[in-house]
Amino acid sequence: MIEQLSVFLENQPGRLAQACRTLGNADINMRALMVADTEQFGVVRIICDRPNSAKEALEDAGFGVSVTGVYAVETPDRPGGLADVLEALGAASINVEYAYCFLEPGENAAVNVLKIDEGDARVVLEASGFRVLRPAELYEPDTES
């Protein structure tokens, strides 16, 4: 599974900048970032190098952070790519909590990040011919897994 950071942020001007600067100062490179927000607070989901050191750096700077396991599925960068993945999961009655996507520059491939709480999504995805990425393919891991 991919280790994704989930950072709790109050809705305050400059707070996201502070979180990003903290990672920058810790020499941690981000691969993807997605903000989910409510009226009063937001959760920023980040995929980055050395996620555990990143968590520590953010906590030292006063942020609330947890590490969440997500799937990263590679699809060709073409219309319907993500729909194929979701249909395969839907057919196996696997529910997706949330998803976001980013492109691999020059690779003609998209990376689809999926949060799935139940069911063995990896088996279903691989049986349907999708490539589920390992951590080292996306970022520099800092735990053995």
């Binding site: 994704q4 989930s6 950072v7 709790f8 942020l9 109050e10 989910a36 409510t38 009063q40 607070f41 959760v43 989901r45 906590e59 006063g62 942020f63 609330g64 952070v65 947890s66 969440t68 909590e97 949060k115």
Partner: protein, 431 residues
């Protein structure tokens, strides 16, 4: 027990001592304090009682009386007999001054030694006094008591939290005396410094000077791996040392040989039955510098009926559950901030750190409670965070009977105080 001859005396003998001491103090204040003389004379009260029940015929004293006599008007002895003054923090404006004679200081040391002993302290202990030293009674009050008991006393005073942790570690502190909220700040700071506070010799805490809850006690006891003892006092009556829990941790024994406690209905001012909540009222029985007669503390508590297995004869008052001073009136409803803390410590995922922001929208009071999420929360799922927010809101609303807003704020974002926590920000006057 530090003074079993008093703490475990018979009820009968105690009451005889109380009547005798009460009469002595009444004569003295009538003779020497103009405010009491005119008040007794005006209301036609003779400054003598036959039984303890007669105390209810005496007039009350309130904080404003002490303010009006600022600084020295309440002294019942010539100023040259006063050897020390303390002053209340004056959160509501003018400070009030209290004076102590040499005998007062001596009695106070005994009473605080009782307090430490009832928390299990002995001369073998190392007591770190992290209450502020100065005009505030906490520091010096605890200091003299710890020394009187014979414990090794570390007069570190409040503040400089990292150094406090260092001293806890290096001096082998076994008993900590400070405000309950400060003990949590110490625990957090120790954690940040990489110090495992639970592995230190620290085994008990003597906590007072601000309202706290049973849930907060559980949290302190777990985080610091200690026994947390609640103590009670107020400068107008003495300072710390008026009442203290014993190892049963079920109610605070009032040092009744020095203080007469009454619980009265805050509206009618009539005494209530033991077991019923009301405003705590004290009469000092031995104080020389500033004796007070039926002083209304504005603290809400009750007498716990029955005897305590520890063997002390002194009756127990329950942990103070609210303060009429701190009481907020929100849309006509009486609200105690301590009720909010009680709720928060029962909900997983939030820390018991909160701030109440009172505002006004048109003619309506608005209440927003800022609540810190706990640092080890799972932050990923917005839905769960919103669910937590809803739960905090509905539980606070049902405890207070007032509708409020809740805002979840980041871990450790609410300012930690080194003395009393600032729980309420009232912006109703700013609009």
């Amino acid at each position: 027990m530090f003074q079993p001859q008093w703490e475990a005396m018979s009820r009968e003998k105690l009451e005889a001592v109380q009547v005798e001491r009460l009469n002595a103090v009444l004569s003295k204040v009538h003779e020497r304090v103009p405010l009491y003389r005119s008040r007794f004379d005006e209301s036609g009260v003779r400054p003598q009682v036959a039984t303890l029940d007669d105390v209810t015929s005496l007039p009350f004293t309130v904080k404003d009386d002490l303010r009006s006599q600022y600084p020295y008007g309440m002294f019942a002895v010539p100023r040259r007999d006063i050897v020390r003054v303390h002053a209340s923090s004056g959160t509501t404006g003018q400070i009030t001054v209290v004076g102590y004679t040499r005998t007062d200081i001596d009695n106070w040391a005994d009473l605080m030694a009782r307090t430490f002993a009832s928390a299990g302290a002995t001369p073998d202990d190392v007591v770190q006094v992290a209450y502020g030293y100065g005009l505030f009674t906490g520091g010096l009050g605890a200091h003299y008591g710890s020394e009187r008991l014979g414990a090794l006393t570390v007069p570190i005073s409040g503040g400089n939290t990292k150094r406090q942790v260092q001293v806890l570690q290096d001096f082998g502190t076994t008993i900590l005396a400070c405000t309950p909220s400060y003990s949590l700040l110490l625990a957090e700071t120790a954690e940040e410094m990489g110090v495992d506070i639970t592995s230190l010799p620290l085994r008990a805490g003597v906590f007072g000077a601000e309202p706290w809850s049973e849930n907060m006690r559980t949290q302190i006891e777990q985080k610091l791996s200690i026994t947390a003892i609640d103590i009670y006092g107020l400068s107008e009556v003495l300072g710390p040392g008026v009442a203290s829990e014993c190892s049963e941790q079920h109610g605070l024994h009032v040092n009744e040989d020095h203080f007469l406690i009454e619980i009265v209905d805050p509206e009618t001012l009539r005494p209530v039955e033991d077991g019923t909540y009301g405003e705590v009222v004290f009469t000092t029985l031995t104080k020389e510098g500033i004796p007070v007669i039926r002083y209304r503390t504005r603290d809400i508590s009750r007498i716990i009926p029955g005897e305590c297995p520890c063997g002390r004869v002194f009756r127990r008052m329950e942990r103070v559950s609210g303060r009429t001073d701190d009481m907020l009136i929100i849309r006509g409803v009486n609200v105690f901030p301590s009720q909010i803390e009680q709720v928060l410590t029962g909900i997983e995922g939030v820390a018991p750190h909160y701030q109440v922001i009172l505002g006004r929208k048109g003619s309506m009071d608005t209440v927003e409670v800022h609540v810190e999420v706990a640092p080890d929360t799972e932050f990923d799922e917005i839905r769960e965070l919103e669910e937590m927010q809803r739960r905090v809101r509905s539980e606070i609303e049902s405890a207070l009977a007032v509708s409020i807003g809740v805002r979840l704020v980041e871990p450790r974002s609410i300012e930690r105080s080194e003395g009393k926590a600032r729980r309420v920000i009232d912006q109703r006057g700013d609009a």
